[in-house]
């Protein structure tokens, strides 16, 4: 395949960036999107040009490190991570625009890399349970009803990639927040800190400069882990309960 790529280049957080155009040739349909960028970077390296900075780690769809805005879709046209997107999804001769996540809370570090530590700080505010876990307990020591266990598990699959923020017209991180709140709130261990967790995590979310949710649903449509909009309702419900409890 031959493709025209328009890629956001920005040398550092403070400089202005712009889209630069590159031609790539002989791309295999079986390459992942990131491998296609690797091929381009090999060439740029050999030509003595600065390679394009982009994030990736596991390249198997589980770490959440990769994440690019591809032709206006977070992680590209398929509902998967950028590393799991393959070039067969595109047509020969196509022009592909590649941009970093755009969010004030995720400043661009360089080219396509953004700083997502805002998510870490939200987690620091309560995305955990303060229990002494000790040695592995017996599986039946604390029974969890199947439906709740399933929901906790499904929402725990959030990999913190930030596609929800990137695709949201309000730049809100409500889907991410909702996934964490639901995951911990469904489990018995998560109950003790339930009220403080939601209040502190939402406060940090707002403080970081993420927008408020208006239930548009772009996030759930972009989420590679298919986290549903339900979790935002759960988040709102937990916050409303915390208001009632006076937190």
């Amino acid at each position: 395949m031959n493709l025209t790529l328009k890629i956001w280049r920005q040398p550092d957080p403070v400089s202005e960036g712009a889209l630069a155009t590159y031609q790539v040739e002989d791309i295999s349909e079986d390459m992942s999107f990131l491998e296609m960028l690797d091929v381009l970077n090999e060439r740029l390296n050999s030509e003595g040009e600065e390679p394009i900075a982009f994030d990736s780690d596991c390249r198997e769809g589980i770490c959440g490190m990769c994440g690019l805005m591809i032709n206006g879709d977070a992680h590209g046209p398929l509902r998967t991570t950028t590393c799991q997107l393959h070039m067969r999804t595109f047509k020969d001769g196509e022009t592909i625009t590649i941009e970093p996540w755009r969010s004030t809370a995720f400043p661009v570090l360089k080219d396509l890399c953004v700083d997502r530590r805002a998510f870490d700080r939200i987690i620091q505010q309560g995305g955990y349970v303060s229990v002494n876990t000790g040695a592995a307990p017996d599986a039946h020591a604390m029974p969890v009803p199947k439906a709740q266990a399933d929901r906790a598990f499904d929402t725990a699959t959030c990999i913190g990639c930030g596609a929800c923020v990137a695709s949201c017209p309000n730049g809100s991180a409500s889907l991410f927040l909702g996934a964490k709140i639901t995951h911990l709130g469904e489990l018995p261990q998560g109950q003790a800190e339930r009220d403080t967790r939601v209040v502190k995590m939402v406060a940090q979310h707002d403080h970081e400069g993420f927008g408020g949710c208006t239930n548009i649903g772009e996030c759930a449509a972009a989420c590679p882990k298919e986290i549903p909009l339900d979790v935002i309702s759960q988040l709102n419900k937990d916050l409303r309960t915390a208001v009632r409890h006076g937190y």
Partner: protein, 247 residues
């Protein structure tokens, strides 16, 4: 690893880390703003339904309509003074309007700040057109409400030069004027769009849609309510402009 080195350097060169917020209150969050918006919106919905019921009295003719208008003022007498109930309703509506518009403006401003750099290419895959129209649609509704109050309540403007102290004749004269009917119908379509998204969004904000089934139901309910209100309000102007409602 030249590029990894550059990244670490860049990250350490910029003061991106924001501190963890300490003073947190549930009532100071974006979600609390949204709850205010949802509650005021639902008060509007109740009012609008009653208002629609009153308007449909126009099909009963001049006497039925004007008697209804009069009864609105004598309702609750002698426990309430003349027009007492009307003023209570007005006070509630004015407070709701202030809350609704103030929270909308605050969240709009936040959302704009949350994404300062726009995407060169951005697709919407999960959004309905109604959800993307909420803010500008809301501005249209605000302008309409101002005009509407000038027309029928505060100013009592009769563009045909007819009587202004007879509610029924003011209504007929107004909707006999084709462009006033047009403005009114456009506003009702806007209201329909606002409610199509707003009703389900309010359910979500209040935490009532924490599973897929409840979400589907809330969306269906929103659509039905939007259609009932839009069509219900449009009947009187349409039947007036075609001469069925007349004097």
């Amino acid at each position: 690893m030249r590029h990894a080195g550059t990244l670490t350097f860049v990250a350490s060169q910029t003061e991106l880390a924001k501190p963890l917020v300490e003073q947190v209150r549930s009532t100071r969050s974006t979600i609390a703003l949204k709850i205010g918006m949802a509650a005021s919106g639902l008060i509007f919905v109740l009012f609008v339904l009653l208002h629609m019921y009153g308007n449909l009295k126009a099909f009963g003719g001049e006497h039925a309509f004007n008697t209804y208008a009069h009864h609105l003022r004598t309702f609750g007498e002698p426990m309430l003074p003349y027009g007492g109930l009307l003023w209570i309703v007005r006070a509630v509506l004015i407070v709701s309007l202030v809350v609704h518009v103030a929270t909308a403006a605050t969240l709009w401003k936040r959302a704009r700040r949350a994404r300062r750099v726009r995407y060169a290419v951005k697709k919407n895959t999960g959004a309905t057109w109604a959800s993307l129209l909420m803010r500008w649609g809301g501005v249209t509704l605000l302008l309409f409400i101002i005009w509407h109050l000038l027309n029928f309540t505060i100013g009592k403007i009769n563009v045909t030069g007819g009587p202004t102290d007879n509610p029924y004749r003011l209504l007929v004269d107004t909707f006999d004027t084709w462009w006033l009917t047009l403005i009114y119908l456009v506003a009702m379509a806007m209201l329909g769009a606002h409610l199509h998204h707003g009703v389900w969004s309010a359910c979500q904000t209040l935490g009532l849609t924490s599973n897929a089934r409840a979400r589907r139901r809330a969306k269906a309910f929103g659509l039905v309510l939007a259609l009932v209100i839009t069509i219900g309000f449009s009947l009187v102007p349409i039947f007036t402009v075609f001469g069925v409602i007349s004097y």
